[in-house]
């Protein structure tokens, strides 16, 4: 790959705290122009990974680069990378505008830039008030404004929806989508899949510091589709399906008159039922919520007893 611009590459990243391996040989890439969800339950190592990516935590092993460089080697990092991290705060006595102007000064941005980003995140009216009077949602917007200060082509956002009301989340989605459409790289972490499900194109799923899955959101959802059938002749249909080569294990009886068929689509099930003259009351294709897939993936990772290090719970 020759064009590194905007690409995030994490390779073999490892960080151990005492006996807890918080991040364990983690590798993944994030492409420009996409919104990538960085997912995992609380304590999976998401924040530690993002802080290593941003040069705030020194990894024990591995590398993390943005546009081909480690964060700390980027010449003017805020021009290229904007970040919103948990446990990053504001001086309560400073106004939101002063906060932004301070970091604008550090980067050599004109003072008007502070007002522009305040406007962008919908805080123009509150900019001159001290941050101590801000709600959680307003603080989150100010943190986002700080990340956007340098008009960066890479955005790294740790749980950005925290504290936002549904309206705020909808607004955030729209904003991030428009930023990604401009060709920017957007990495968004969350422990609640449903929060980012309608937002992200790709997912990187992390559990206990390890990569569980990386890929397009569509692939992940399609993995868990099935046909749900209701029929008063469930036994006959089951026998038919079994006879026509569908493995028994992939047909589940979910009720006295209900079957779940994995591996055939609704049309095929319907055709077989018609051929056998089985009466159908319902025939639908169902997807597992991504949430269930997410739980399944992270639960599976749980069962691997290969790590000698125990996680403190």
């Amino acid at each position: 790959m020759t064009n590194e611009e905007g690409r995030i590459v994490v390779a073999g990243l490892t960080k151990t705290y005492g006996t807890l391996r918080a991040v364990d040989g983690l590798s993944f890439t994030v492409e420009p122009g996409t919104i990538t969800g960085f997912l995992g339950p609380n304590g999976a190592g998401k924040t530690t990974t993002l802080r290593m990516l941003l040069g705030l935590i020194t990894p024990d092993a591995g590398t993390a680069t943005i546009s081909g460089h480690p964060y700390r080697a980027l010449p003017a990092p805020n021009d290229q990378v904007g970040a919103l991290l948990e446990a990053s705060g504001f001086h309560p006595a400073r106004s939101g505008r002063n906060h932004l102007r301070i970091y604008g000064t550090v980067n050599g941005y004109p003072p008007e830039r502070a007002d522009q980003v305040l406007e962008l995140v919908g805080l123009a009216g509150a900019g001159r008030r001290p941050v101590r009077g801000y709600s959680l949602g307003m603080r989150q917007r100010l943190a986002l404004a700080t990340a956007l200060l340098g008009d960066p082509r890479v955005l790294i956002l740790d749980e950005p929806a925290n504290g936002l009301d549904p309206e705020g989340i909808a607004w955030l989605r729209q904003l991030l989508r428009s930023l990604a459409d401009q060709g920017r790289t957007v990495l968004v972490s969350s422990h609640v899949l449903s929060e980012v499900q309608q937002l992200v194109d790709h997912v990187v799923i992390l559990h206990r510091g390890r990569l569980v899955r990386q890929g397009a959101l569509g692939e992940l959802a399609d993995r868990q589709a099935w046909v749900s059938v209701r029929t008063p002749q469930a036994d006959r249909l089951l026998a038919t399906l079994a006879r026509t080569g569908v493995e028994q294990a992939r047909i589940q009886r979910t009720g006295p008159d209900q079957l779940r068929v994995i591996g055939l689509d609704a049309a095929e099930v319907g055709r077989l039922a018609l051929a056998e003259r089985v009466e159908l009351h319902q025939l639908t294709t169902e997807h597992s919520g991504l949430e269930q897939t997410f739980f399944a993936l992270t639960a599976k990772a749980d069962q691997q007893p290969d790590s000698p290090l125990k996680e403190a719970s």
Binding site: G55, P77, L85, S88, F90, H91, A93, R101, V106, N107
Partner: protein, 253 residues
């Protein structure tokens, strides 16, 4: 570096803390100056008389008391980054953490010079008319007073380095501030009053500052001014270097 220092001044002036602590230092200076003049010539006071150059230098040295609150201001400035979790944003903007600490050291040394100049002005405003009324003409350009005033400026600036350095080492705001106040206002004044310990208490930071500004005190020895200056500067540099090194190495979580 210039932008970093400007940003540090923005941070400082975004709240009023610098002003309150400056007013505190002004009040302390006024109090110390008044005490030094009011009791300077009482018969049982063994310090040099106000008519002597040594007595006058002691009066004009009181502005160095601003060093304590300046160190507190500097420590709050540094530890505030951790207390309010702005350190993350600060180090994201400037991943070269050494430069951030350096900018804070420079900023608080400059603020220290400002506080010292204000306190010197207060000292002069109180001492000149009062001593005049006692019939003592003080030549501000003589009797070693310029050296004392320069010492006051240097001492207060170095206390800025001490505050930043100690803050970077401890990170914990309350502990740093309480530690500084207890040490400079209580612990050191007590141990320096023990004559048996004089041979090593002269090397303590407060005593070194006294030496630098040529304070004369009863029953207490001080180093020569230049040595006092070197010792105080050594504290400043040592704490600044250790604090910077630790800030560069530690994870920001």
């Amino acid at each position: 570096m210039r932008r970093l220092i400007t940003a540090e001044f923005h941070k400082l002036f975004a709240t009023r803390l610098w002003l309150w602590l400056l007013l505190g230092s002004v009040a302390l200076t006024a109090l110390y100056a008044s005490l030094a003049i009011a009791f300077g010539d009482t018969p049982d006071n063994p310090t040099p008389s106000l008519a002597s150059p040594g007595g006058q230098r002691t009066v004009f040295s009181v502005g160095q008391g601003a060093g304590t609150l300046l160190a507190v201001l500097a420590a709050i400035g540094l530890t505030g980054e951790f207390r309010h979790q702005t350190a993350t944003t600060t180090f994201l903007a400037t991943p070269n953490r050494g430069q951030v600490v350096l900018a804070k050291l420079a900023t608080y040394a400059l603020v220290g010079i400002g506080h010292a100049v204000v306190c010197i002005a207060v000292t002069i405003a109180i001492a000149l008319p009062w001593l005049n009324a006692k019939g003592i003409q003080v030549p501000l350009g003589g009797n070693g007073i310029p050296a004392t005033l320069a010492g006051v400026v240097a001492a207060v600036a170095i206390f800025g380095l001490i505050g930043v350095g100690l803050g970077a080492l401890l990170r914990e705001q309350v502990a740093t501030v309480v530690g500084l106040l207890v040490y400079l206002f209580i612990a050191e004044p007590i141990v320096t009053r023990i004559p048996a310990l004089d041979s090593w208490t002269v090397y303590l930071p407060g005593a070194a500052a006294n030496a630098l500004t040529q304070v004369a005190q009863a029953n207490q020895d001080f180093l020569p001014p230049w040595q006092g200056g070197l010792v105080l500067a050594a504290y400043g540099l040592l704490l600044a270097t250790a604090g910077t090194a630790l800030t560069i190495r530690r994870d920001i979580t």
